[in-house]
């Protein structure tokens, strides 16, 4: 069973420029592991050195934040959509280096 994972614009470069990727997994965690196994460059953007999801990357099962479900153990059913939603600073489209405007 494969589920749709919606990839946000800033991370599309690491999944061959796709905006939706189909991945298998019984839980959200398993599904994300399979995703990063397939697209290794994503690993560093989704997980920190301790293997935990980064705090500026939120993962949603349908419209719900997995932090308020069972986190990465949240079971995935057929037809569920997983969204990766990182924080985006941009307001004018200039380079988000932090200090520049």
């Amino acid at each position: 069973m494969a589920n749709d994972v919606l990839i946000p614009t800033p991370l599309r470069a690491y999944v061959g420029k796709q905006d939706v990727v189909q991945v298998d997994g019984e839980t959200v965690g398993e599904l994300l592991q399979n995703l990063t196994a397939k697209y290794s460059e994503l690993q560093n953007h989704l997980y920190n050195e301790d293997g935990r999801l980064r705090s500026f990357v939120n993962v949603y099962l349908n419209d719900d934040d997995i932090r308020y479900l069972q986190k990465e153990d949240t079971p995935v059913a057929e037809g569920d959509t997983i969204s990766i939603v990182p924080s985006v600073a941009g307001g004018t489209g200039s380079v988000a280096t932090g200090l520049s405007r």
């Binding site: 946000p8 614009t9 800033p10 980064r54 600073a89 307001g91 004018t92 932090g98 200090l99 520049s100």
Partner: protein
């Protein structure tokens, strides 16, 4: 407070709607909104709020209008290029609606001035473009108890929500920490569809007006994501985090902090000096090209940037493709690498050195320095 006959005529399409009516229009007239930034998002926000009759509009900015702003910052015109964004925005808003009081604040928002500045307004609209200011605005809004109407944009995708209301979450409930500077998109991945801030900014203006009038269902506890390419809006649920350090049940952040430090931006990091011998200048490169000494110029920008301008005889391999295309560089020991302004090419040079191209040098200042120092006929972007 009442409306003059001129104001009744101006706002008649509001006044005849029961959801706004005279009461709502008077609420708008009595209200004040602070726009942080007069850029892509701030332009439609300030213009629509002025047109709607918000009595007092504040704008914070310290930037100057540039040609590259005009593709999306519709409050400014070609004639304004070179003027301060505040002067330009004030003129435009006064022309649009002289009934509205426009207040300009020519400062960079900081932990020192934010509370005083924000305290003077009912609602804050966040149209900034960097993480330190995002977190600063959020925390100041929570501390002051002011709604923070949030919007952000990137390429073809935008986000909007209303944070820091009495019962709703704040930005930190959603994202407790910012990404480290190394993981934010580089300029190769920058750019924005000019219309995108129009869509997100008008959502922000709509939410500000709804909050003022007190109608409808505000964008609280909800996060709106707009994808312009697919023309699709998605709505995600948000919750206030009881453990949030700012708006939680036992807040640990009760005053403003150093947001650049919080976002991992240190002076040492932003002005890191490259090792000696790794860089070359545009003047040196020009001399070598004139001498035709066989120097190989590698451009690591993206194809769309290469189309805008290029250094003669350069070869394009975008930074992202470089690891897989090193074989094409065999025998090119004497190599100068450049990008737009030098950051991507510095990464490329590191990669090349590791791969054995030990003589590869980074062109300081990139093609922008080349245009300034060697060939001003090329277009800048």
């Amino acid at each position: 407070m009442t409306l003059s006959n001129e104001e009744v005529a101006r706002y008649s399409r509001h006044l005849i709607m029961p959801e706004v009516g005279m009461d709502g229009q008077l609420k708008l007239k009595a209200a004040s909104v602070l726009c942080i930034g007069a850029g892509g998002l701030g332009s439609p926000v300030a213009m629509y709020l002025a047109a709607a009759g918000v009595g007092r509009i504040g704008i914070v900015d310290f930037d100057v209008v540039d040609h590259s702003n005009l593709q999306r910052q519709v409050i400014h015109t070609t004639l304004d290029v070179g003027r301060s964004k505040l002067d330009s925005a004030r003129d435009r808003l006064n022309a649009l609606n002289p009934e509205v009081k426009v207040e300009t604040h020519d400062v960079a928002l900081s932990s020192e001035n934010a509370l005083d500045l924000l305290a003077g307004y009912d609602i804050i609209v966040d149209g900034t473009d960097n993480f330190p200011t995002r977190y600063l605005v959020n925390d100041a809004c929570v501390i002051l108890g002011k709604p923070n109407v949030y919007g952000s944009i990137f390429r073809f995708e935008g986000q909007a929500s209303v944070f820091a209301t009495k019962d709703g979450p704040c930005y930190r409930c959603l994202y407790p920490e910012p990404p480290p500077p190394g993981l934010v998109p580089s300029c190769a991945e920058g750019g924005v569809l000019g219309i995108l801030p129009g869509v997100i900014g008008t959502i922000q203006a709509t939410e500000a007006v709804k909050l003022i009038i007190g109608v409808g269902e505000p964008l609280v506890n909800r996060f709106m994501i707009y994808d312009a390419l697919r023309m699709r809006f998605r709505e995600l649920k948000l919750r206030r985090d009881p453990e949030c350090p700012v708006c939680g049940d036992n807040p640990t952040v009760t005053e403003l902090i150093d947001y650049e430090q919080f976002c991992g931006i240190t002076p040492a990091l932003s002005v890191a000096e490259p090792a000696a011998g790794v860089e070359t200048t545009v003047e040196e490169l020009k001399t070598r090209l004139d001498r035709a000494d066989g120097v190989f110029i590698l451009d690591v920008r993206e194809p769309q940037e290469f189309q805008i301008c290029r250094i003669p005889s350069s070869t394009l391999i975008p930074l992202g493709d470089l690891p897989d295309r090193l074989v094409e560089l065999e025998g090119r020991d004497d190599m100068v690498v450049h990008c737009k302004s030098g950051a991507r090419s510095a990464k490329a040079v590191k990669l090349l050195h590791k791969a054995g191209f030990v003589k590869a040098k980074n062109l300081r200042g990139g093609i922008l320095a080349w245009i300034d120092g060697v060939d001003p006929s090329l277009p800048k972007y």
